[in-house]
């Protein structure tokens, strides 16, 4: 099972409130100047940005603490092996704000205003986060109610970022233009990759955030990655 699409910015349903949250406002309302800057920049980006997602569902299992999919053995950390133990399929996805976003952000950066640069960055993070939620919804439609885990990402905690290589091998052509470099970083920058286990006994309430010790994180339970 696989799906991928480039979608329009309006389909994402990204609101200024999402962007404020990405900027660290924790529910507080920014001053009016900042609000109008965000609105202006959102309108500017909307004309250009082409967010995209690709997802793939493959049969797999957990051996020891390793997630194994198509003969590829991930060096997943012990805690993750336990959480995903009973999975019989895995959904892999990549979401991205896209190259057009990177180009737009690079142009803003060149203008040299640090506040605009920061807002552009927050919009990009909010875009890719919303894209992630969109892709997850799409997956849930495809799964038709099958129980699944929450999302886990290469690079989180002790799942080494170098495992992105295996991840992208599995994605193959289904990468919506996202590639990794020698340091295993994704390009376009505003991209997120992740894996969801599918299996009747999996517990979707065990999230990466619920395991994270950083209780005061401004994005706790906010849907990042």
């Amino acid at each position: 099972m696989r799906a991928s699409a480039v979608i329009s910015f309006s389909e994402l349903g990204l609101t200024p409130q999402h962007v404020y949250a990405s900027m660290g406002y924790r529910g507080a309302e920014p001053d009016s100047e900042t609000c109008s800057l965000v609105a202006r920049m959102l309108a500017d980006l909307e004309r250009e940005v082409k967010p995209a997602y690709a997802l793939k569902v493959l049969p797999g299992k957990v051996e020891g603490h390793s997630v194994v999919i198509d003969d590829i053995v991930f060096d997943t950390p012990v805690f993750l092996g336990k959480i995903l133990q009973e999975a019989h399929h895995f959904a892999l996805f990549v979401v991205t704000a896209g190259q057009a976003y990177d180009d737009w952000a690079a142009r803003i950066k060149k203008q040299g205003d640090i506040l605009c640069e920061f807002v552009a960055d927050a919009i990009g993070s909010a875009t890719v986060e919303s894209m992630g939620l969109y892709a997850k919804k799409r997956l849930e439609e495809l799964l038709g109610g099958a129980t699944h885990s929450s999302t886990f990402c290469p690079g989180q905690y002790h799942w080494h970022i170098s495992e992105q290589r295996k991840f992208f091998t599995l994605m193959g052509e289904d990468n919506v233009g996202v590639t990794i470099n020698d340091s295993f970083l994704m390009h376009p920058i505003k991209s997120v990759s992740g894996l969801i286990g599918i299996g009747e006994t999996l517990d979707p309430t065990i999230t990466a955030c619920s395991l994270c010790p950083r209780l005061d994180c401004f994005r706790r339970n906010a849907g990042h990655a």
Binding site: M23, L115, F118, G155, N181, F184
Partner: protein, 211 residues
């Protein structure tokens, strides 16, 4: 006579135009740049930094203040020479190899710049070679490294080891930061200091250049 408290307010509230205007007036009246900077501008940056630390101000407030501060510093810098130089020191800053998270790093860079440091921002995914090259080229006083992934923070030790191997460790202080980094980790890898936020980073940088 210019009321320099207006400059303090302008920077604190992130008003670039007002900040530039008052600075120009003060310069025209012959007030010493050093007095303007130390007496008002840096104090305003310290205050906004404190408010941010206490959750009373947000990143944009910090950036607007730094922007206003920089606007005024750009006017005052050419007027100062030699021992009176406005540069508090030179800083090379980057996110380490394997990591792309740069919002915090950029914030630290802006605050340092706002507080009078010369900052060379190398960007993200920076190798030890690039850090060393830049430190040598710019005769940096401090190297600042940022990492947000628990898997990339270990690269900071590689950079410190490479600085040793290149024989330049004694010439430069090393400051580190990023969400997963701790004081204990900084000590363990032989860094000169760690700060958990941009405000503390400025205080630490000041302390390190004074040593």
């Amino acid at each position: 006579m210019t009321d320099l408290n207006l400059l303090y307010d302008a920077i604190l509230n992130g008003k670039l135009e007002q900040s530039v205007e008052v600075t120009n007036q003060a310069v025209a009246e012959g007030i010493e740049p050093q007095e303007i900077i130390n007496g008002y501008m840096i104090k305003a940056m310290e205050e906004i930094g404190l408010r941010f630390q206490n959750g009373e101000a947000f990143v944009p407030n910090l950036l607007m203040a730094a922007r206003a501060m920089k606007g005024s510093l750009d006017i005052l810098r050419p007027l100062m020479k030699g021992a009176n130089s406005v540069s508090m020191g030179k800083v090379v800053i980057g996110t380490v190899k394997g990591d792309l998270h740069d919002i915090g790093k950029n914030l630290v860079a802006s605050m340092l710049e706002g507080c009078g440091f010369e900052v060379i921002n190398l960007g993200v995914d920076i190798s030890s070679e690039k850090f060393i090259e830049a430190a040598k080229e710019h005769k940096a006083d401090i190297i600042c490294m940022s990492a947000l992934l628990t898997t990339t923070m270990n690269y900071m030790k590689e950079v410190i080891d490479a600085l040793e191997a290149a024989g330049v460790r004694k010439d430069v202080k090393v400051m580190i930061g990023g969400a997963p980094v701790t004081d204990a980790f900084a000590q363990q890898i032989g860094a000169d200091g760690y700060s958990e936020n941009a405000n503390g980073a400025v205080a630490l940088a000041r302390k390190l250049v004074a040593e």
